[in-house]
């Protein structure tokens, strides 16, 4: 029987969502065009060529190396793209994803990425076109809600604050707004105004966000409700304590 990877224990909706994010088997909810994505990332002008830091690998004449022969370079590495970043922020009020699960999703399902996990934000550094692939995947699927998650290259502190009345996570630089029932982004991820309003679609309703979230909360699905998760957390805690114990 073929081995099937098991990602996360638990029987609750949160555990199920965590498994989905880690395995990359997430539902696609919206469409973001390549030009729109380039615009909000703010690293280059939409439609322009990818600037490069070195010639394509095929032209460089690589040294003989068994590892290089075994590992196929990513498209970005092959073309010699610059390393660029995308940074996501997820609200603590039932955002679909969290920094840890964005990192799991990137590291498990994509090659050549360097995810950085922080308490309130998650950054992925990669060759530009590889990074765009990760960003697009996370933006278009149920890993993001335009109201509760957003692209923020700098100034991320809204993730831990109460939501404003309109339900769009507070942003000191006001990059996202609710206009006619849809969330639009009118600045790039670091807060520079862009030429066009990029439409990210309707925000999730409170009920849908509670259903799709990967966050355990006492006012939704409490961590203590999931007996299997608790059992595994205890097991891992016990084992790492026992294995870390080193009497001299």
């Amino acid at each position: 029987m073929a081995y099937e990877a098991q990602y996360y224990p638990g029987a609750t909706s949160v555990a199920e969502n965590r498994r989905k994010h880690m395995s990359g088997k997430v539902e696609k909810l919206r469409e973001v065009s390549d030009d729109d994505l380039t615009l909000v990332l703010g690293h280059r002008a939409p439609g322009s060529d990818y600037p490069s830091t070195h010639p394509p690998l095929a032209e460089m004449g690589e040294p003989e190396c068994s590892i290089r022969e075994m590992v196929e370079p990513t498209p970005g590495a092959k073309a010699g793209d610059r390393v660029r970043y995308v940074q996501f922020v997820d609200s603590m009020y039932n955002a679909p994803s969290t920094p840890y699960f964005r990192t799991y999703a990137a590291a498990i399902n994509f090659r050549g990425v360097d995810p950085g996990t922080l308490s309130g934000r998650q950054v992925v550094e990669a060759r530009e076109r590889d990074m765009e692939e990760v960003a697009k995947f996370q933006l278009e699927t149920e890993m993001s809600c335009p109201a509760l998650a957003s692209l923020r290259g700098a100034t991320v502190h809204g993730h831990s604050l109460r939501l404003p009345e309109d339900g769009i996570m507070f942003d000191m630089l006001d990059r996202c707004r609710l206009e006619n029932g849809v969330v639009i982004m009118h600045k790039d991820q670091v807060g520079r105004a862009i030429d066009k309003k990029v439409d990210f679609g309707k925000p999730m309703s409170e009920e849908e966000a509670a259903k799709r979230t990967t966050i355990y909360r006492v006012d939704n699905v409490a961590f203590r409700d999931d007996a299997e998760v608790i059992e595994w957390v205890h097991t891992i805690f016990e084992k790492r304590t026992a294995y870390g114990f080193k009497p001299e």
């Binding site: 100034t155 404003p164 009345e165 309109d166 630089l173 006001d174």
Partner: protein, 162 residues
């Protein structure tokens, strides 16, 4: 609002913490209703700052033009909202005023709120206050602004004493 009271020890302090950050329109409605209640000596509006320009990062210096940064009018006084309203701390004369304030909150904050009594605005000068303002500082502005900042553009008198 009433005239400043010099004996701060007898006053009650309360904090209103809405379940959501208030839009300028709701904040204006709430503050206007509060300003009509007799018996509030001092009020302190607290929340995350709304900068005029991007303070750091690659876009430093670009205009922010925040949707929540608006001029609001309380009675006859206009003020520029430098924060998004998250909490309102009030110093009041007695328990009757507190119940009037609770009624206003019920009416203007449909999203729900927490309402508590405690010590939220300082009553005595700290060393920093003393160093900045000296021994004869006006006690009514105590605790309403950062002692290291400029009081003038942050403290607003709705009904200044003659």
């Amino acid at each position: 609002m009433v005239e400043p009271v010099t004996n701060l020890e007898d006053l009650i302090q309360i904090e209103i913490c809405p379940a959501r950050f208030l839009s300028p329109e709701t904040a204006e409605r709430l503050l206007n209703e509060l300003s009509n209640i007799e018996g509030i000596t001092r009020a302190f509006v607290h929340g995350p700052r709304l900068p005029k320009t991007v303070p750091y990062g690659p876009a430093t210096g670009h205009d922010v033009d925040h949707k929540f940064s608006k001029n609001i009018k309380i009675g006859e006084t206009e003020m520029d909202l430098a924060v998004i309203v998250g909490r309102i701390r009030l110093e009041i004369l007695n328990e009757e005023v507190r119940e009037n304030i609770r009624e206003v909150c019920e009416r203007t904050l449909p999203m729900g709120y927490e309402f508590r009594e405690g010590l939220f605005i300082q009553k005595r000068q700290t060393v920093s206050d003393f160093a900045k303002r000296g021994p004869n500082a006006d006690l009514t502005t105590l605790g309403l602004a950062d002692p290291k900042g400029k009081v003038g553009n942050r403290v607003c008198m709705l009904n200044p004493a003659e």
